[in-house]
């Protein structure tokens, strides 16, 4: 039985969006001017005709759009286009994920942006994106993935805040904040950026520490940027909810812009259990899944559990995604010799010595900047110590298991990571040997998942012969 859904009328304005600044706003401005003074530019008539024509085309494009769902045949048909008509028929089993997004304007008009993602989509772009009414979107999702008796899981604000804190960075804050301040200043015709700089200067001069005022200023800028990034992430993850069906998962989040992503468990490429430095201090973990996508196709990474204790997260993992478990118990670990273990601290030691030497040189060369150089050493030194801790984690806890699924545990930058991936989803297994590895008969093993995101993880200093033999046996390679 076919069920036909039409797009929400807000989609007409979506079609007109590219012409908003070049055509529609000048027309509105011209009309206001005409109403106020009775005068109009000679071009206004042409602009009005063009705007009406564009609106009519937008209306007809909206009218032509149809989404047809066939429950019996399990297919979804999307018909779009006025002059160039496109008809696509997709089997529901081939969908990677279905995503709905709702911004405040859409909330007022009871509409959502509906995205259909398959593995054949372009990078960073949904296969189909259109507006549906909230009622239709709900009906489509129910028809696609079934209503079922979904288990709803909510997470506390604290857990969401920690997730936001771990996914925030001062750099993101600068990227988000600077254009915002610049545009707000232009719009209000107030030099907000100058005011901010003056304020930062004043505050940093007032704080008296061993370090010079510039250190205070830099710290303030970074803290402010981090705060902006944190708030941005917090509003993104607020209302985070997980709905679990037998075959599907649904993730909802967002405060101003509400996002809802649904996907089949079968579309998951790999599962990652991660622990950032902040989570490490709180002794908590987060679980993410990577959904859909091969080669140049569409792929998403979704947080499934934002924050949970180690035992709890493993319990949830076994409960939600039991087919990803890897329990052979035969692990390949870094060689437990003292020499091999010390190799994990080789780079942190080099970094630390270099930082100290550089600070001494800079302190002696530029007398006025010695305290600033000391501050830099303090920051860099802290980062190196954290890095060293993660290297030690890789040394003592890092391991690989080639069982029914592939399991690999190691560090990735400044976080620990466990990656679970089915055998058929392994894209690349790379064995790299540096001169030191050849000397010690070891190698680095990197496993990359076959997906657009190409999640990968590397364990260093494993016994070369053992790894080579296991990989050849596991992937049935005659080398």
């Amino acid at each position: 039985m076919n069920k036909v859904f039409r797009a929400h009328p807000l989609m007409i304005f979506n079609f007109l969006k590219p012409f908003l600044f070049v055509l529609l706003i000048p027309v509105v401005r011209g009309l206001i001017q005409y109403a106020a003074s009775g005068e109009y530019d000679s071009i206004l008539k042409f602009e009005i005709v063009l705007s009406v024509a564009l609106f009519v085309i937008g209306f007809l494009r909206w009218w032509c759009f149809k989404l047809i769902l066939n429950e019996e045949k399990h297919t979804i048909t999307v018909i779009s286009g006025l002059f160039f008509r496109r008809t696509a028929k997709i089997n529901v089993d081939r969908l990677s994920s279905v995503q709905t997004k709702q911004n405040p304007l859409e909330f007022i008009f009871r509409a959502v942006t509906f995205r259909i993602n398959t593995e054949a989509g372009n990078i960073g772009k949904a296969d189909y994106e259109f507006k549906l009414s909230m009622k239709s979107a709900k009906a489509v999702s129910t028809l696609l993935y079934g209503k079922g008796d979904n288990k709803k899981i909510r997470f506390s604000l604290f857990k969401i805040a920690v997730l936001a804190a771990t996914t925030s960075s001062a750099f993101t804050g600068i990227l988000v904040g600077v254009p915002l301040i610049y545009r707000a200043g232009n719009l209000l015709e107030i030099a907000i950026s100058d005011m901010l700089i003056n304020e930062i200067n004043n505050v940093s001069n007032k704080i008296e520490t061993y370090f010079p005022p510039v250190v205070n200023a830099i710290s303030l800028v970074f803290l402010g940027s981090y705060l902006i990034s944190f708030l941005y992430s917090l509003f993104k993850y607020l209302n985070f909810r997980l709905r679990l069906g037998q075959d599907k998962m649904e993730i909802r989040s967002g405060f101003f812009v509400r996002t809802r992503t649904a996907f089949k468990k079968a579309a998951i490429n790999n599962v990652r259990i991660e622990q950032s430095f902040l989570m490490l201090l709180l002794r908590r973990f987060a679980m993410r899944v990577s959904v859909g996508g091969y080669g140049e196709s569409k792929s998403r990474s979704e947080v499934v559990i934002p924050l949970e204790k180690g035992q709890e997260i493993r319990k949830h993992f076994a409960e939600y995604l039991p087919f990803f478990k890897c329990d052979t118990g035969v692990f390949i670990k870094p060689r437990p010799t003292a020499v091999n273990r010390s190799r994990f601290l080789f780079f942190p030691t080099i970094y630390f010595i270099s930082a100290v030497v550089l600070t001494i040189i800079l302190g002696n060369r530029f007398d006025d900047f010695d305290r600033f150089a000391l501050f830099c050493l303090w920051v860099v030194g802290t980062l190196i110590i954290i890095h060293a801790w993660f290297c030690l984690f890789e040394c003592f806890k890092g391991k690989v298991d080639f069982g029914e699924n592939v399991f690999i545990r190691s560090r990735k930058g400044f976080k620990t990571c466990e990656l679970y991936c089915p055998k058929e989803n392994v894209g690349e297994v790379k064995l790299v040997r540096f001169p030191a590895d050849m000397w010690h008969h070891t190698c680095r093993l990197r496993i990359t998942v076959r997906s657009e995101r190409a999640d990968s993880l590397c364990v260093r200093h494993l016994d070369y012969e053992t790894v080579k033999k296991t990989v050849n046996e596991y992937f049935e390679i005659n080398a």
Binding site: R86, N91, D93, S297
Partner: protein, 145 residues
């Protein structure tokens, strides 16, 4: 194994398309000839090329075009000077999409694009009904397996 050739309508459709494009290009070149005299030669070259393509190349090219629906894959064969064979296994295919231009709609034909994760396979215009049945076969086949 089903083997399909393209309908004559496709050849006519492409004939009209090529003639139209040639006519537009020649007209543009001739319009600007008073400004740039070399455009007269360009107009002649484009005109001759257009006629050769429309009257000679297209009929032979579309005669070589074959669409084979085997048990495991869609195979498209074409080419006069360079022979090409494009194979897309059903397992690799994500979905199929038909595409109609206003001119194709007049003739009652539609092109089909078979989308896979890394690439796509374009089948030139076939009868609308055939296009629909291919799309249905590919989209519904999976659920009937």
């Amino acid at each position: 194994m089903k083997e399909n050739t393209l309908p004559k309508k496709t050849t006519w459709l492409w004939f009209v398309r090529v003639i139209l494009i040639t006519f537009i290009l020649v007209a543009i070149c001739l319009y600007f000839t008073p400004l740039f005299s070399f455009l007269k030669i360009a107009a002649i070259v484009i005109g001759i090329l257009g006629i050769i393509i429309a009257f000679l190349y297209l009929p032979f090219f579309f005669k070589t075009y074959k669409i084979i629906l085997s048990n495991d894959a869609v195979i498209v064969k074409y080419g006069i000077f360079i022979k090409a064979e494009h194979i897309m296994p059903y397992k690799r295919m994500i979905y199929a999409q038909s595409f109609e231009t206003p001119l194709a709609r007049l003739w009652g034909v539609a092109a089909v694009r078979l989308k896979a994760a890394r690439s796509y396979l374009l089948v030139a215009e076939i009868e609308k009904e055939s296009a629909r049945s291919i799309i249905d076969f590919l989209a519904e086949g999976e659920s009937h397996e």
